[in-house]
């Protein structure tokens, strides 16, 4: 339901990102949805908010998931995409009445494209005081960005003339 107003570069970029985001949600399921079953995340694919950064050897993804315990969080990596999903179930005091209710039980599912390919076997998630930090080691191919300048003899096979 996005109306196209003046497509400034920023809006265009947002449109593309939304398309891409929806695309990854659907493609991860293999199909839009099963007959008779609508995935909850149709209209809210961008939860939880994520921070993604990397250093030389790892890619890091972080989300804030307060009140959710480790057994209620699922992580999976396929190709260059990480999917974080889970749900929150709150336990209330007995016989309580609600005075203020700003957050209830919910489910979430967020696929995210990683900037570099990672080794799915050695993901290290850490959940610390409601902050989920996922550390993923990069594959050797992803790390090999530095091109070594050899100081070999002129007869080496790199074609350079002396």
């Amino acid at each position: 339901m996005l109306t196209r107003i003046a497509m400034t570069p920023a809006l265009n970029q947002m449109q593309q990102e939304m398309d891409r985001l929806f695309e990854t949600v659907f493609s991860a399921a293999g199909r839009p949805h099963d007959a008779g079953e609508r995935p909850r995340q149709d209209f809210a694919p961008a939860f939880p908010p994520l921070n993604v950064w990397e250093d030389e050897n790892h890619v890091y993804v972080e989300a804030e998931l307060p009140g959710i315990t480790a057994e209620n969080i699922d992580l999976s990596v396929l190709g260059g995409e990480l999917t974080i999903s889970g749900h929150r179930r709150m336990t209330l005091p007995e016989n309580a009445t609600i005075v203020r209710h700003e957050c209830g039980n919910y489910e979430f599912r967020r696929p995210i494209r990683l900037p570099s390919s990672v080794n799915a076997e050695s993901i290290e998630p850490a959940l610390d005081n409601g902050v989920l930090t996922i550390t993923m080691p990069k594959t050797p191919q992803a790390k090999a960005r530095r091109i070594e300048v050899r100081t070999g003899s002129p007869s080496s096979s790199d074609g350079r003339s002396n």
């Binding site: 307060p66 309580a96 609600i98």
Partner: protein, 138 residues
């Protein structure tokens, strides 16, 4: 200024945070209002505030004239990172106050911080709690 395409890096804003001292951090860092649920039973008020990313010793709770104030200092764990691929949320301190009923008893507050949730229990004053009167058979 050219617009960067979607997958390029976003530069995060430079951190202007002091060291991890609650006093300084409050004045120089971003401040957020935590999402909070409040429940009430006959015996007490229960306040659940979402304050991830901090520790129990950094949280300050006061109850003064029925106003409960929560102040959580959150260390900036992104201080050493300058470039993100995605930067969808920021980290900052949490500050919020609530007015509880007149029967909130400042002498009996307890608080627990677990899984990023601060749970504060404020008992109600003894006089204000409903007392059940037993009806005996004559």
């Amino acid at each position: 200024m050219t617009t960067e395409t979607a997958l390029q890096r976003h530069e995060s804003q430079p951190a202007t945070v002091a060291q991890e001292q609650p006093q300084d951090a409050v004045t120089r860092q971003r401040v957020f209002r935590p999402v909070t649920n409040i429940y009430e039973t006959d015996e007490a008020f229960f306040i659940y505030a979402e304050v991830p990313g901090t520790t129990a010793d950094r949280i300050d709770i006061t109850l003064e004239q029925n106003v409960l104030s929560i102040n959580a200092a959150v260390p900036d764990r992104y201080q050493s990172i300058s470039r993100f691929w995605r930067n969808e949320f920021a980290v900052g301190n949490y500050v919020r106050s609530f007015r509880l009923g007149e029967n909130a008893d400042p002498e009996s507050i307890s608080a627990e911080y677990r899984d990023g949730i601060l749970m504060v229990r404020v008992a109600k004053t003894a006089e204000s709690r409903p007392r059940r009167i037993e009806v005996r058979h004559a």
